[in-house]
Amino acid sequence: MTTRRTWMIAALILAIALVSGAGAAPPKDAIVIGLLAEPVTMDPPQITDLNSARVTKRIFEGLVAQELGSYKLVPGLARSWEISKDGLIYTFNLRANVTFHDGTPFNAEAVKFCFERQLNEQGPYYKTGTYPYVKGFLGNVQGVEVVNPLTVQIKLKAPLTPFLQYLAHQSLFIYSPEALKKHGKDIVKNPVGTGPFKLETWEPGVKVVLARNDQYWGGAPKVRQAIYVPIIEAQARLAAIKTGEIDLTMDVPPDSLDSLRKDPNITVAESNSSAVWYIALNTRHAVLKDKRVRQAMNYAINKEAIIRDILKGTAIVSSGPMSPVYGPFHEEKTTRYPYDPEKAKALLKDAGYAGGFEVVFLVPESGSGMQQPVEMGTVIQAQLQAVGIKAKIQTMEWGAYLKKYLDGPDMAEMSWNPSIGDPDHVTYMLLSSDRFPPAFNAGFYQNARVDELLRKGRTTVGDGERAAIYKEAQRIISDEAPWIFIDHGRQIIIHRKRVQGFKLHPNFDLVLTQVWLQ
């Protein structure tokens, strides 16, 4: 009998220990952020995913930065810069007295070192990583020259206006050369930058802890620590933010947003983003090559209903590749495609397809930025069916899907979340004929005027002239309907009321420098 009693007492103690732990709240000066997954790597030029960028951009900085809340470029590690008349030479005047977290100085040599690590295949540090974007972002760089310790010159092979925006992308951020020499390939888990936070600990799969950099040149941030935990399941993120286990998170089940908005302890922060969700149409397909058919497909889809019923209002209707966050570059007066099945039928009749036709419709099961791909695909299929178009859905897993997507499908869902704040990075990347598969113009869209404009936009300097170029391109693209334009997802960040001063950034970054805790 004694053994049974001992067991019961032990169980009781355990139960008390367990339940008493339930009240633990986050410390006063540390913000806990629930990410969708843990960071993959902390070496800036090797980052390809949003979770890594969201953490690592606190540790590192680029020569130029984006103003919080917009794509406007502001000084970063460079105080100022000049671009030569021919658009080939970029001269950067660097900030003085900036040090890396390891105490070594930031200077022109460090900038040259970081760029040459990726560029120079024969260089001593090339093999310390693989650089996914080197050709895309640095392929046009002729060389990097140290003029003096605080002045660095980058020479381009040909003028490329978006280059300045590339410098605000993490793959061209500056890290401590000494740290790279010391850690070699293990630099991926030993980040040393100049940013407002530095890495304190990283327990893989468990958490990343960043500590405030008291020596930060821009003034130390107000929160002492930023703790990032991966929470894969949406329901679990919802539970964690509601109970106060975490302070800030994203991508909770859309059904729960209404109840979160009513929760007195929680703020739901929303803004438009640069994301675009579309269905690429194969412009070489026997039927889809007819513009009237593609326009008909746009009229056949009730985008408002998809946004209201499936996405629960977390997006806005799209009528072109660029969302309103591009400000002066965004064209409001494009061809619109309100839900109009009768007009769709008339257009199909005009084109000689009154009896409809059959296409294969690729749908991924899930995927980065894909919202609710299967539900949305099913509704789109039904609405196309209503005007006589039989779309046969084929679903597959994301990795396999990406391969199939670049294989010339009839029609296929895709989304794009540009990490570069230049209009070139949406239009040229996805719709120029220079970008046929294996690049991402999967529908082989080709229009001579659009090609001309997009190439011109890349080399033209001056926002006014560029805005006119991109507005004309958007008008043509919307009218030609190479895609079924569906939506621009809104970014939604949920945080506890104690988090103050948080502001959304169009490229989904989570900036903490100005945040404080109540």
Binding site: V206, W398, A400
Partner: protein, 301 residues
């Protein structure tokens, strides 16, 4: 056998459609960047060459480096495996406690309401998918009642054994109940078979208390098939852990593997599968040895 596993996992992974470079690069991929990445990762070589190079390194204890993580595979999988073992052990404990007791009670009280209820629960338990049970437990115990945390293995702030145990409860119950159900049904039939034997009647006839009859005579003879199934259950739990870990963001091998498969991170998936296969072989060896411990008629010379 492990060699077979290595060939199989390598072939299945590399023949599956998808390309780690394309997944990493996304829409801003340039053709030059894809070609360059393939070359730097050695993916431009013929499959046989890639396999021989990989297995050669494996035999020297080098599992390579993860493609997107850039970190060495062996320390990475070992670290994650520790968390998986904690979860599996917790689940196994729950499976044994629940499964054995429900099975024994059912057998001893055959055809009573107790038997019907526990077998009813067991059938339900076997049929419920763990991701569903997991999400239901999160909604009930984390979101509504707030007794347990919703995810992770420890609090973002603070740590300690009690903290880990507190985080372990929901995932271990999720994973353990499915296994407990299978175990309960087997224990019941195994005990029922023994309980009708003559020597059990003799034991009762000589006046032994029912408790002693069950513990000393029935269970000891019924235990071998139960151990066999327990061994198999460890494999089931390691597999089930993949889903459970994803639902609860448990930092184990399973949740890591799901991500690695999605990213076509060949070295990491191969390393993880080899580790799981090795564990499974070892567990089966232990089960074989346990037979001899419980049944003196079995001897290994």
């Amino acid at each position: 056998m492990l060699f077979g596993v290595s060939v199989l996992v390598f072939a299945v992974l590399h023949l599956a459609p998808g390309d780690p470079a394309a997944i990493m690069l996304g829409a801003q991929a340039t053709k030059e960047d894809v070609v360059r990445l393939h070359r730097d990762l050695g993916l431009d070589q013929p499959l046989v060459v890639q396999y021989v190079r990989w297995i050669g390194h494996v035999l020297q204890g080098d599992l390579g480096r993860s493609i997107p993580l850039g970190r060495a595979v062996l320390p990475e999988v070992l670290l994650r495996f520790k968390a998986t073992l904690v979860l599996t052990a917790g689940a196994l404990l729950i499976a044994i406690l629940l499964g054995l007791s429900a099975g024994i009670v059912s057998a001893v009280k055959q055809y009573t309401w107790l038997d019907r209820i526990s077998m009813g629960v067991a059938v339900t338990g076997v049929s419920l998918p763990v991701f569903w049970t997991g999400i239901m437990l999160i909604i009930l115990f984390a979101l509504q009642l707030r007794w347990f945390p919703s995810s992770g293995m420890s609090s973002p702030y603070g740590s300690g054994v009690a903290d880990v145990l507190w985080h372990l409860v929901l995932p271990a119950v999720t994973l353990g109940t499915a296994s407990a159900a299978a175990l309960a049904r087997l224990t019941r039939s195994s005990v029922l078979e023994i309980i009708r034997q003559d020597y059990v009647r003799s034991a009762r006839a000589k006046g032994l208390a029912e408790r002693a009859v069950i513990a000393r005579h029935v269970l000891k003879n019924a235990i071998n098939p139960i151990i066999t199934v327990l061994g198999l259950q460890v494999g089931f739990l390691l597999g089930g852990a993949i889903l459970t870990e994803t639902v609860f963001s448990w930092p184990g091998l399973g949740s890591m593997m799901v991500r690695a498969i999605q990213a076509r991170d060949y070295p990491l998936v191969q390393g993880g599968v080899l580790l799981i296969a090795t564990t499974f072989v070892l567990v089966n060896l232990v089960v074989d040895l346990l037979y001899a411990v419980f049944d003196p008629r079995i001897r290994y010379d």
